[in-house]
């Protein structure tokens, strides 16, 4: 077939193509020709435009405004989601006997993009709230842990004190100094003195209540004079105790005594001696 004849055949086929009415083989032949023929492409375009006039002959069937608004709103929501990277590239075609609300994405999950976007916002809010509540729980647990640590520290140090006390009291090297009252009343005391550990634990009994602003003070009596030890206040039963370390050479401790002194104690005794005990064996 000559080129002219082909061109004639094509011209005859163009109108059918403009109406999408060409059958397979002829359509392929036409497209092959169109690829190299600008004149026929232009002719086809103008015939397509003419064919589209037929659309305007469709009877006007108005869409109920509420339904139209819904479609419009859904389209805009889908488009907005699409801009953020959403939906399938091609509209979904309904399968037979299936009502398709065309919001499903073919490429991804059954969630339409705008719904997925909304869901992800909700999930983000949910995660944010969850993270907040987790942070809250963590900080309260941290507080509990810190408080337990403090308790444990207190218990450990108390236990250590008790162990030190026991160790100071219990060793074979511990000597006991009994203090006797210097008065008619019978306050008394007992000092557990550990010269190896250089610690003492002192207990007093039946001590009279001290006046306000006054405390009892323990003294280690040496040849050079009394060495101040800590002060203490007796309980209502008149009992009190004090423990401590000393750096006086053991052999210089000749006696221990208790006096009443201003609260906090003094470097040298001023009050009269209440009880006293000899440290000598």
């Amino acid at each position: 077939m000559s080129l002219d004849t082909e061109h004639e055949n094509v011209q005859a086929a163009l109108a059918a193509e403009a109406l999408d009415a060409l059958d397979g083989e002829e359509r392929e032949a036409l497209h092959a020709h169109l690829a190299g023929c600008a004149e026929c492409r232009a002719e086809l375009e103008s015939l397509r435009e003419a064919a589209s006039l037929l659309a305007h002959t469709a009877p006007h069937v108005p869409l109920a405004p509420a339904r139209s608004d819904r479609i419009r709103a859904r389209l805009l929501a889908r488009a907005a989601a699409d801009v953020r990277g959403g939906e399938a590239a091609e509209p979904v075609v309904a399968a037979p006997e299936t009502r398709v609300i065309p919001i499903a994405s073919r490429r991804r999950s059954a969630l339409p993009a705008w719904l997925a976007a909304a869901a992800s916002v909700l999930i983000a809010i949910g995660l944010g709230a969850y993270a907040l509540s987790l942070r809250g729980r963590v900080s309260s647990l941290e507080q509990q842990t810190a408080s337990l640590s403090r308790d444990r520290g207190r218990l450990e140090s108390t236990l250590a004190e008790r162990e030190a006390t026991l160790a100071a009291l219990a060793g074979p090297e511990v000597r006991v100094i009994t203090l006797a009252s210097t008065q008619e009343r019978a306050p008394s005391g007992r000092m557990f003195w550990n010269p190896v550990r250089r610690r003492y634990t002192f207990f007093a009994y039946n001590l009279p209540q001290v006046r306000p602003g006054r405390e009892y003070q323990l003294w280690l009596i040496t040849p050079a004079g009394p060495v101040a030890a800590p002060t203490f206040r007796p309980g209502r039963d008149g009992a009190g105790s004090v423990e401590g370390a000393y750096d006086v050479p053991n052999e210089q401790i000749r006696a221990v005594a208790v006096t009443e002194e201003p609260a906090g104690g003094l470097p040298k005794p001023t009050g009269e001696v209440l009880i006293v005990g000899n440290a000598a064996e």
Binding site: Q11, H56, T57, V61, P62, L76, A94, V100, I101
Partner: protein
């Protein structure tokens, strides 16, 4: 036709605001508001075309939405000056509607006499009376042009356009040789193309 010439015959009455080409360019750039404006402008026509092709009103609404969605997705591929935006949109809605008919296995099988004549639309028309009048006028002009076609030519192009039949199916349906169908289609479209020039002159 002149590729750069705007096809004013297709412009709906609310000719205010951005022209269709600008709206499609904005859509291609990801502006969904442009899609809304295009919908406002063209959904009455596209819905009517869908209703003309598919049997079920709900199907027609879904086809309408699918068509605008496809327009949104393919806005970047739209080429200005190839028949105008309305040609592009009506091609899309027709194609979607015919797909729906094929998927349903159901044609709109009403007798053609039951289809109301153009211009006798029932119910609410476009928003403003002026717009209604202008759209009615446009439809009337186009209907007149189509009405001037010999009945066998009109029947041929309508079977192809609204029923999606191929030329060989039309030939079988009408009991005519394939060549005759081709010729009728060509004569019909050429006459309609001539009327386009008239519309352009009238539309300014």
């Amino acid at each position: 036709m002149h590729p750069t010439q705007r096809t004013v015959s297709y412009l709906p009455a609310d000719d205010s605001g951005p022209d269709d080409g600008a709206l499609v360019r904005r859509m291609a750039a990801g502006d969904e508001k442009a899609l809304g404006l295009l919908y406002d402008r063209w959904s009455p026509l596209l819905h009517s075309v869908a209703r003309r092709i598919v049997a079920d009103p709900n199907d027609a609404e879904e086809v309408l939405e699918e068509a605008f969605w496809q327009a949104w997705r393919q806005a970047g591929r739209y080429e200005e000056g190839r028949g105008g935006v309305s040609t592009w949109l009506t091609m899309i809605v027709r194609s979607r509607a015919l797909d729906r008919v094929r998927a349903r296995g159901r044609l709109r099988e009403e007798s053609w006499e039951n289809i109301p004549e153009p211009g006798s639309g029932d119910g609410e028309g476009p928003a403003s009376p002026d717009a209604a009048a202008e759209q009615d006028e446009r439809r009337r002009l186009i209907a007149a042009a189509v009405a001037q076609l010999p009945p066998e030519q009109r029947e041929t192009v309508e079977l192809a356009y609204f029923r999606g039949l191929s030329q060989s199916e039309i030939a079988a349906k009408l009991g005519q040789p394939l060549g005759t169908v081709k010729t009728r289609a060509r004569l019909a479209l050429q006459k309609l193309r001539e009327s386009l020039v008239v519309f352009r002159e009238e539309g300014g």
